[in-house]
Symmetry: C2
Subunit: 114 residues, 2 copies
């Protein structure tokens, strides 16, 4: 591998709404750059650049098909995100139960959460 698989890149790649939309589109079927750019309010080079970022993050792969380039989703790197999120999943179940007590406690102390 030329570059160590950069953990951060996945989070960062997915931080952009445009790139998330690209991934969403590719999740239904593999597509050419042209096809992806059509359904966007972006020029083709812009889309191509975003795809390059996704490619570096390992989230998509591309193959040549004639003069087209067909992009395909590779969801594997998202597992890392999912794993990270798993550590927090307990909170949005536990929190629900604790919420009532918290409210009572902090209202009494006149402390406000914001």
């Amino acid at each position: 591998m030329a570059r160590p698989l950069a953990h951060d890149d996945v989070f960062q790649a997915v931080a952009s709404p445009a790139r998330r939309t690209l991934l969403d589109k590719l999740s239904s079927r593999e597509q050419t750059v042209h096809s992806l750019a059509e359904s966007f309010d972006m020029t083709l080079p812009a889309v191509s650049q975003q795809l390059a970022i996704l490619r570096r993050a390992g989230l998509v792969s591309a193959r040549r098909a004639g003069r087209w380039r067909v992009y395909r989703l590779n969801a594997e790197p998202l597992r890392e995100m999912a794993r990270w999120l798993d550590n927090y999943q307990r909170f949005w179940t536990a929190r629900m139960k604790a919420l009532g007590e918290d409210l009572k406690r902090y209202e009494k102390q006149d402390e406000r959460w914001r």
Copy 2:
């Protein structure tokens, strides 16, 4: 609400390694800014600014305690991320099964995925 809960902010807030570390630290216990800054190679104002971003994304809340400000994790907005990820989870199970066939097919056609 002054601002509609910005969906994008959560993804973007979590894109920064520093902010993820802050969340990780807060997941064990609520802490003051000073306490958080100590375990970081960042100045206190820098930490404070990152916390402000997390606050805007709804990922942390703060209360005053004397002259301290105690920050607390609020994992709720991460549910949205988890939901988005759920749409992809099927790939890293399905993909495993399909991988063998894909390899055979594309090797035969001399198409390389990169």
